[in-house]
């Protein structure tokens, strides 16, 4: 059973095990965020909401919002804008001020990796191999705090989703989810993702989602 805490709630006296989302004061561990306590290993508070904070190595889905030579400015659903350098397209390409929009135009969606975050919160992105999303499929946005639940422990939930919905599903670290498949399949997949996001703080979720998908399938077939 999950224990829900609000900021300032007492969690434990085991100061050495204090982890993310907690703080230590007077030899006690208190909650820093509104969320559920996870005390396997270190004592963590997994928040139920919040903005995406970029971390090196994260794979994110971004939207080009501005072209400012030699960068593309990318919105990654975070309080900070990210930059994508023109050299990401390789040295061979002759990209200049005028033709940047032929490579990536404003409103284009890309899959990118966070390469570097500096103290001034400047974020550099690198392109992934298949970075262009080309307007195929659907993009849904959930809180980035729900991403671990949508993936599940060692990928159990996402595997279930892909099997049962018959879709290509890509979950980015910033809470953006790209779904590709037939229209009906995408409907089911996005519905299920929203269900997971809404019930992220409850236990036994994978079983319930499996049941939900099965009942949906049997209703139709």
């Amino acid at each position: 059973m999950y224990k829900v805490v609000v900021p300032g709630d007492f969690i434990s006296t085991e100061v050495n095990r204090a982890g993310d989302g907690t703080y230590v004061e007077d030899g006690n561990v208190y909650a820093l965020k509104y969320g559920v306590v996870d005390d396997r290993g270190t004592i963590k508070v997994v928040a139920l909401s919040g903005k995406y904070m970029p971390v090196n190595g994260d794979v994110v889905i971004g939207k080009i919002v501005e072209i400012s030579f030699p960068y593309w400015i990318v919105d990654i659903a975070s309080p900070y804008e990210a930059r994508l350098r023109k050299s990401e397209f390789g040295r061979g390409e002759n990209i200049d001020f005028g033709n940047m929009c032929e490579y990536l135009d404003i409103d284009d969606l890309i899959v990118a990796k966070v390469m570097n975050v500096d103290v001034m919160m400047r974020i550099d992105l690198a392109l992934k191999n298949e970075f262009k999303m080309d307007g195929v499929g659907r993009l849904i946005e959930v809180s980035p705090t729900k991403v671990p639940r949508i993936i599940g422990r060692s990928g159990s939930m996402i595997r279930l989703l892909k099997d049962k919905c018959n879709c290509f599903i890509f979950v980015a670290k910033n809470g953006r989810i790209w779904i590709k498949g037939s229209s009906a399949d995408m409907d089911l997949a996005s519905q299920t993702v929203m269900k997971i996001a809404n019930e992220a703080h409850t236990s036994g979720l994978t079983d319930r989602v499996a049941h939900f998908l099965d009942s949906f399938k049997s209703e139709k077939g």
């Binding site: 907690t22 703080y23 909401s49």
Partner: protein
Amino acid sequence: MKEGKMELIRDGKRLSGRGFEELSSIKIDVGVLKRSDGSCYFELGDNKALAAVYGPREMHPRHFQNAKRAVVKYRYNMAPFSVDDRKRPGPDRRSQEISKVSREALDPVILRELYPKTAIEVYVEVLQSDAGTRTAGINAASVALADAGIPMRDLVSSVAIGKIDGEVVLDMDAKLFQSIRTMDISNRRHCAHFNVIKYY
């Protein structure tokens, strides 16, 4: 002088029937606004306040950014229909000051240094007023901040305190206000020992 004085305390209770330290009924709803990052509807007796939190998000205008920490913006606003006489809409000296003191009540609990260069925006709308709207506003804002997933050391609670016939009472009624001096305090338990706090 003597005959003009009202009787304000009867059998150790206020005229409203509440004891000195008894609050009026409280109602809290969380997540009432879909498009905000965090929101709260708060009722304290006949005070009704609605708080919305947006952010942390990019600070505009840019020159108000702080390179080391997030900036908290707080806007307290009374709806024109929130009082018996119509309140002239828009910001005025009173609401500006209340916005400032309310922000200063919340500032110390928020871990602003985790979100440099951003703004955390808090909007508090008073829908109905019965003395103590700023305290209802602070309570609403504090819950809304927690709902937005913003890291905080504690929830801030706030209540109006006044004196009736020499007795200190909590959460006063508007009807008594004209004859009685009042003051507001906010819970600032954390201000005193800031530097000892560690967080992970």
